[in-house]
């Protein structure tokens, strides 16, 4: 039995995570402040048991909507995603990707923004909603 634990310990030592060329310095498409027009904004309200605060802004740059998070300090969780949602619950939404407060999220050009008045922060792995921001048109 000791032998088995020893060999398993060796295997654990081999557990690793190392960045590659596609995960190192992940590039961002910045918001061009001269061209971009602020179209929507909202303030996050956290759900029960979740603390922190933050804002979201959506800019239109050419024909591309871009979403950013601002003053974002909502507590972290596993597998958090940013959703553009039709309602204040994660039922019918556009998944914009993993939460990264520094990211600029590109909204698919096929999205009709008037149909999506909410931005949600949602834990996809455990299906738990962290925060909701209702968008206000600027």
């Amino acid at each position: 039995m000791k032998k088995l634990f020893f060999i398993l310990s060796i295997l654990v030592l081999f557990s690793c995570e190392e960045e590659g060329i596609l995960t190192k310095n992940v590039g961002q498409v910045p918001v061009n402040e001269e061209l971009a027009v602020l179209k929507y904004s909202g303030t996050f309200e956290t759900t029960s048991g979740i603390s922190g605060e933050g804002k979201t802004k959506i800019f239109l740059e050419g024909n591309q909507y871009k979403l950013i998070l601002e003053d974002y300090s909502i507590e972290n969780g596993p597998d958090l995603k940013v959703y553009l949602s039709k309602t204040n619950s994660p039922d019918d939404f556009v998944n914009l990707g993993n939460l990264n407060p520094a990211a600029v999220y590109l909204i698919p050009t096929s999205v009709n923004m008037t149909e999506y008045p909410f931005v949600l922060i949602h834990c996809q792995q455990y299906n738990h909603l962290f925060a909701i921001a209702q968008l206000v048109q600027n």
Binding site: K3, L8, F14, C16, E17, G20, I21, T23, K24, N98
Partner: protein, 299 residues
């Protein structure tokens, strides 16, 4: 202690080999559970190292530890734990993959024919949602499919021939993968967000050749795996989508060479490659060539 040292040396040596592997969701190696290795010893311990090259420049190294206990002449119970290390343009990710528990019952031999049946279960250690630097990784980098699978199988041994028939059924899906092709800088992998995988059916024919002193055994075999439906994922607009071409047939050719060092210790080298593959393999089981090295200790 000598055996342990040998096993560790083998582990390290094989860690630096570079080879490839076949498309295996677990069912590929199920045939081993049918094999009756010995009538003298009741326990078997194995270390297995497998190397493979998948799509999108991903190299996969799999390490498995197996223990099998023979409770009666007919019934044995085997367990296996896998560890996967994937390396490619996304980086390197290593994790424990799955645990297997497989029961095998052999009926008494009659007229050179022996039937056995198998019942097994696979438990995933991960939800197939490993990330690097908060970047979601495709299934090719995941150590497990994230499914709790049931194995049902039967084997007919007739003289030097073995015929395996088995199914692998995902009973409970815990795959939480969140990879989107649309959000990735790579075009090599399909979207597998909240991936749901269908069952597999396997048919394998093995022919065993032995040298007169029983020191060497060769087992050429052909493995047919049919993926019984098209897999699905949740797209960016929160709708479930079918992955066209993800069902169908994979045919693998496999050659196993076994060297019996003595009555207790043996080494096995296995080489496999697929001849026919599915149009799309979103589960990441895309290995184009397998090289496996296995050490077995009986006691």
């Amino acid at each position: 202690m000598k055996t342990l040292k040998f096993g560790i040396v083998l582990f390290f040596v094989t860690s630096f080999l570079h080879a490839q592997g076949c498309s295996d969701a677990g069912i590929c190696s199920i045939g081993k559970a049918f094999q009756e290795e010995t009538k003298t010893f009741k326990n078997s311990f194995e270390i297995n190292s497998i190397l493979g090259q998948g799509d999108g420049n991903v190299s996969i190294f799999t390490q498995t530890l197996s223990y099998t206990r023979k409770f009666t002449e007919q019934f044995s119970l085997g367990s296996r734990v896998t560890y996967n290390l994937a390396n490619g343009n996304f980086g390197t990710r290593g994790q424990f993959g799955d645990a297997y528990l497989i029961g095998n019952y052999q009926f008494k031999e009659k007229n050179n024919k022996q039937w056995s049946v198998l019942l097994g279960w696979k438990f995933p250690f991960t939800t197939a949602n490993a990330k690097i630097n908060n970047v979601s990784l495709p299934m090719d980098y995941q150590a497990s499919l994230g499914t709790f699978d049931l194995f049902l199988g039967t084997n007919l041994n007739y003289k030097a021939w073995d015929f395996n028939l088995a199914v692998q059924i995902p009973v409970f899906n815990n795959n939480k993968n969140s990879y989107f092709d649309e959000l990735s800088v790579s075009d090599d992998f399909p979207t597998t967000n909240l991936f749901e995988r269908k069952s597999d059916a396997l048919f394998r024919t093995i022919y065993t050749l032995k040298t007169t002193n029983n020191k060497f055994l060769f087992k050429p075999n052909v493995l047919f795996i049919y993926h019984l439906g098209e897999d699905t994922f949740e797209n960016q607009f929160s709708n479930r989508e079918t992955i066209k071409g993800s069902d169908g047939l994979t045919i693998n050719g496999n050659l196993i060479g076994i060297y019996n060092i003595n009555s207790k210790n043996s080494i096995e080298l296995s080489v496999a490659t697929p001849f026919v593959v599915r149009d799309v393999r979103p589960d990441g089981l895309t290995r184009s060539f397998v090289l496996g090295l296995n050490y077995r200790f009986l006691f």
